[in-house]
Symmetry: C2
Subunit: 109 residues, 2 copies
């Protein structure tokens, strides 16, 4: 319908628990880019505490670790995605694109 | 990915304001079925006040009336969808089906 827009959200869950939505995906993308949880959080204007908790939660729900957090070093620790985490992020990013295409198609009708 | 399920929600908005989501769609379907806002609300275990407010909100945001509320009568008033409202409900219901298909396809991968 004219002037009406279909919008929405998608998320990935496991056993009924949400593991990834758009917010956590952005956090993972930033971790992949910067290799640091503190930097990733700061770029998103998210508190370090919240980012840390998000990562713990993702790792807890996932069938295997998604992010590895390493303490220490002069930058205050490193963070990186496991091979599984990289795959998960890639798959969900593609689903987000497909969903955006779905919405675009619906909105053209 | 195995054991992971993609889920989501869609809603219809106009000028950035939500007009229809899954809850309001159910309310409209019940109004269509029972011809009464009180009955529709009661079937959904929703307060009459909340249902009434939802309808006012839909009518306010939509480009033309979606539901007509008629006061009085022994059943305490009637409610029915306008032609435009019927079309809106039908379109959105089809979009919900298409979205469900989208999710099913994604979850088969």
């Amino acid at each position: 319908m004219k002037n009406y827009e279909l919008t929405g959200r998608i998320w990935l869950s496991k056993d009924g628990e949400t593991i990834l939505g758009s917010g956590k995906v952005t956090l993972l993308q930033h971790i992949e880019k910067f290799g640091s949880l503190r930097r990733a959080a700061s770029e998103m204007k998210m508190s370090y505490r919240k980012a840390w908790y998000s990562i713990k939660q993702i790792n807890l729900i996932a069938s295997e670790p998604v992010v590895v957090l390493q303490r220490g070093g002069k930058d205050g620790g490193k963070a990186f995605l496991t091979k599984f985490g990289t795959q998960l992020l890639q798959d969900f990013s593609q689903q987000q694109l497909a969903f955006q295409e779905f919405l675009n198609t619906q909105n053209k009708h």
